[in-house]
Subunit: 482 residues, 2 copies
């Protein structure tokens, strides 16, 4: 940095009292990620209220060579929004830019600023009999800007795609403070490289998302939530193909849960009940939906799907939620897996994907392989089978010391799992992004050609390296060895 | 170029007799674009048979600084695959790489090499009761590689998206000959910038597509093809909203045709018949489809949509094709507009888009504005109203000299139309790409921030500027003034 005092004085003047602070107490909650895994320091926290203010503060940073860490709801999974220890970066919060500028049911579009909280968008859409087809656990804090910067996933990707699919238009501030304005949604536009796509999922390293035009869908008229007990994950794969063939566009979610996870959840939630009386090695949670006005036959469809699967021997037992309350209870079981497992003891968690068709085989081979290599551990895989994405958790042997185990054997386990998934042609980050957590693993395992392209693009668009330094883009091999 | 003789000798040895030629007769058909608008020269034509050969010849070009013009079926609309006059470039044909490596109905995926002709992929998919959901006029010659490089559109974009949506995995050779291999399709993958998206639509300026994994859909069980007569394009917009609300995912196409175009087609095709007895200012051609096994109620749906629209006063008259033959006849009317207009006389054609919701208003205002500014011309707009994309043709006044008019008043008309569409927040290239035809217009009208990003990325990934020089990426302002 050239002159911190001059920078700080200019920034304070530019953004005013509401938009700029160095107060340690106000900054503290935002300097640690929500799971407490990463902590850092910052020179100051800027909270601009408009795209113009974002542009102005970024220009100022560029002039003074001040690194910038953009942040939305601070609910990321990979430490991508936490600054490093140096304390020379500006923490740039987008939370004040929280206007939902438009919700248009006719064009099925909404225009949101980056700081809009996902739950608030859901509510605004519902107010117009529409819905925004992406949801996830952190919806009460995750912001639209953060969801776009990390190309977030969730439980509706099977039918509706990740955040990338929802983005029709985008506005972002680039490293020199210039504003890339592609907010106007054009369904067809072949004027060169699709720069919007490059910014989506770039985790603030190429630009800072300030607003977006997103797609909306008509609200759901009815849903049928099914719970099936299965012999194996291979049968879950067969059930998925059966559901896809029979339910087509009605199939909105397909999650798998092994016995171990269900038991953990039942232990963890005292009021929770097992959906089926019998015990099964695997469970599938399936959601079928129909839009308002097109709900005829949905429950019949659900029943035939299950009876056909039963006759074919694909499932051992199944039930359909009899009420919306029961449907919510089924989903609560699924959503409680992570906290239930945390209560048991330390675990290394991996957010991985392989081609959809290969995921069942992968799980069947990887679980015993990991457990054999690291005696005493238990490996469990659960989640979005329909997306080829599971959360692959490896639970520590009993009586290890929390904290120590993760830094020791835990690291070796993660490297082993990442090696394995890479050999299967998969991804070490399906939906959580790279951030600071997986940057070195990406450098170790990523395709050298892709990594070289990423470095060239980063260098081209952020030559001073000021946008979210240390995140996502692995250093070049020669730089690593310094 | 450093040493053409050394390069030519090495290239000939590398690719052998089938893969390399300098024979003017063999090269001639590929040195002019199919509409005869652009003609160029080349040092030689390379026709590698594998990704390894593409990689090797590109490496050789990089070493000798030989520019490369990649080419598929040579059916592009913007001269993007035609070399310039200099004759120092290598024409790189992908046509020999024409293997369909896999058609998998279970995973709904196919793996195709770049030179596969679209029609051949349609046939291969049909052989497995699947379909590839993108089609267009040039399907008998257009190749998968070219379709990806130009992010092609067509008549099914309304429901299924452009080529970008169909690409699940991609392989490309970069400027230095390295192979970017992202062929394995991962539904979720957040390992950094989505480089695949950057290559799609980059018209061979960032890399040469060699193969792709594409999505397939179950084949259609039934379709209903509707023809409606309307008072105005505003009513067509209302009919579109009505169809979207009532037919949802069954709506696959929505095209609009003004009276002028229908008359031209009826004059041009002696056997063609008017679908409706009465005359109307506008027509809508609508296709509803249902997948195999889910066709119940499609014709009832079509009938209710039309009777409701009639009662609401949105349409004046309508009919549903009574047979597959009649359905084909309706589509033939639509597909014959361009040749029918060419038969009338010279016209300036513009492939433009604005936000879907604004297209009807745009046409209503732009047509009289253009005709007033250029007396004697007639402006017509037809095509993909559901995508916010029309082909906006301005027909010459009677008795102009073909060839002269296009270069004189024609150019002024195009600039006027491009200015207009830009003021409406639209695109001067909705689906045909930029190529050499619109490069300078993109430079004149494109967002300077986006253009600067494009130039930086081009420079970063192709520092010698060897990949399809002179196409798509406008020169920097200072370079233009030289």
């Amino acid at each position: 940095m050239r002159d911190p005092d001059a920078f700080l004085a200019s920034a304070a003047e530019l953004l005013g009292e509401r938009g700029f602070t160095r107060d340690p107490e106000l900054m503290a909650p935002w300097l640690t990620d929500w799971r407490g895994r990463y902590a850092g320091n910052a020179l100051a926290m800027a909270s601009p209220a408009s795209t113009e203010e974002v542009s102005a503060i970024v220009r100022l940073c560029a002039r003074h060579r001040v690194p910038i860490v953009p942040q939305g709801g601070n609910s990321g999974m990979s430490g991508g929004a936490t600054p490093d220890d140096d304390g020379d970066a500006l923490l740039l919060s987008l939370r004040r830019m929280n206007a939902i500028r438009e919700v248009n049911a006719d064009s099925r579009q909404t225009v949101c600023e980056a700081g809009v909280i996902l739950q608030n968008l859901h509510d605004a859409a519902a107010g117009k009999q529409m819905r925004f087809p992406l949801t996830l656990g952190g919806k009460g804090s995750a912001t639209i800007g953060g969801l776009i910067a990390t190309n977030a996933g969730g439980t509706q990707v099977l039918r509706h795609g990740t955040m990338r699919t929802q983005v029709l238009g985008l506005e972002a501030v680039l490293a020199d403070g210039s504003v890339f304005d592609a907010l106007t949604p054009l369904k067809k536009d072949n004027r060169g490289f699709d720069l919007k796509q490059l910014l989506i999922g770039s985790e603030g390293t190429l630009g800072i998302v300030t607003a977006a035009t997103l797609r909306l869908l008509p609200e759901i008229g009815e849903r049928a939530v099914l719970w099936a007990g299965l012999r194996s994950i291979g049968d879950a794969r067969r059930l998925l193909l059966h559901c896809e063939a029979r339910a087509g566009n009605h199939l909105e979610g397909f999650e798998v849960i092994p016995a171990h996870c269900l038991t953990a959840v039942l232990d963890h939630l005292p009021d929770a009940r097992r959906p089926l009386a019998s015990e099964h090695a695997w469970h599938a949670l399936i959601e079928l939906v129909a839009e308002e006005g097109a709900t005829d036959g949905l429950s019949e469809l659900a029943e035939s799907i299950l009876s056909e699967a039963f006759e074919a021997g694909t499932i051992e037992d199944a039930t359909i939620a009899a009420s919306e309350t029961q449907a919510e209870q089924f989903w609560l079981l699924r959503d409680s897996i992570s906290p239930a497992e945390r209560a048991i003891g330390p675990a290394m968690q991996h957010d991985i994907s392989v081609p959809v068709a290969r995921m069942a085989d992968f799980v069947q081979q990887a679980v015993p392989e990991v457990e054999a290599r690291f005696p005493g551990t238990s490996a469990v895989a659960f989640g979005h089978l329909g997306d080829g994405n599971v959360h692959f958790h490896v639970l520590a042997p009993p009586n290890v010391v929390r904290g120590e185990w993760e830094d020791g054997e835990g690291k070796a386990i993660s490297a082993f799992v990442h090696d394995l998934v890479t050999r299967w042609g998969g991804s070490i980050s399906a939906e959580h992004g790279i951030g600071q957590m997986k940057r070195d693993e990406l450098g170790r395992l990523g395709d050298p050609v892709a990594l070289a392209m990423m470095r060239s693009i980063k260098q081209a668009l952020d030559p001073q390296g000021l946008l979210n330094p240390g995140k996502l883009v692995p250093l070049a091999p020669e730089a690593c060895s310094n």
